[in-house]
């Protein structure tokens, strides 16, 4: 019983904590940020399973987290606001050759991050980018001026 409750609380706390880290996890994460995310998960595990190391307890915890994730995913698709809450919204960080300074600052992005994404699409310089979009999964999409 307590494992299930702890798993639900832990899931939601991690969901909010990871979201408010601002710089989105996934494609934009540095190795150290990966370590931080794993560290958070590790700390939550301690309270979730407590001193009950039984197979039953572990399986119940895993199933609870799985069910929570399924529920949250369903809610995110069903309700736009909830989807924005848990997954964020795409943000245009460069438009028509203009940096969107406020968004860049708040998302803690630098021109280097955008250029790194641009290079993967074959764009050589920043002035060849028409749009750069910070996607919900943390990737940066590049639309160059030729397209």
């Amino acid at each position: 019983m307590s494992t299930v409750i702890h798993a639900i609380i832990g899931y939601f706390f991690l969901l909010v904590a990871v979201r408010v880290l601002s710089r989105r996890p996934g494609a934009q994460m540095t190795p150290f940020e990966f370590v931080i995310i794993f560290l958070m998960g590790g700390v939550i595990i301690l309270t979730t399973v407590g001193d009950d190391r039984s197979e039953t307890n572990s399986i119940c915890a895993v199933i609870t987290v799985g069910l929570m994730h399924r529920l949250v995913s369903w809610l995110a698709v069903r309700f736009r606001f909830f989807g924005n809450f848990v997954e964020g919204t795409p943000l245009v960080v460069l438009k028509d050759g203009q940096w969107q300074k406020d968004i860049m600052r708040r998302m803690r992005l630098e021109d280097m991050d955008v250029m790194a994404a641009a290079r993967t699409t074959g764009v050589r310089t920043l002035d060849k980018i028409k749009y750069a979009i910070l996607e919900r999964n943390g990737a940066i999409s590049i639309i160059n001026t030729d397209k």
């Binding site: 909010v16 408010v20 601002s22 407590g50 001193d51 606001f81 924005n84 809450f85 964020g88 919204t89 795409p90 943000l91 245009v92 438009k95 028509d96 968004i103 708040r106 749009y131 979009i133 639309i143």
Partner: protein
Amino acid sequence: MAATAQTEPVRDTVPKVNDELAVGSDLEFQQRWWRFTRVLWMFFTALIIADLLGCFGRGWLANARIRTNDGTMDVQYERIERFSTASIMRIEFGPSAIHDGKVQLWMGESFLKSLGNQRVVPQPLLSVIGQGGITYTFPVTTVPAAVEFGLEPLKPGLYELNLRVPGAEQINPKVFVMP
């Protein structure tokens, strides 16, 4: 029989930037989200400061001390404990609590049931169950004599401890156990 695949015509539902690039950005939500995160970070900071001060146990504000007016007992304990986390409660006995080289201490049931008394140092000579609790008898050679109880709370909540040296004033410190 082959199942019929469900289809739906594609509509231009994703909001555009400059009327040419479908992004689906929701800046209004994002502004609200940034305001929310600002408040949340302030809340997190306040939470950590409160924790450092001991508002959630294991710190300066959590430490407490209570004495009987007649000087029989001086109890040092944590007024805020944490669930399933070890702590020490120390009881010092004054000269008036000691009779024939022994001191007796009665503790109410709530202490045993909720705060998870794990060990007593030194070991009592005698433990007698009754009168809604347990009475320990300890040998004493020096004054003040001190006894330590190792606690590990079994469930969260607010509990009242009942401590008494038989024939003397009873004290009832309250302890809150954090989840």
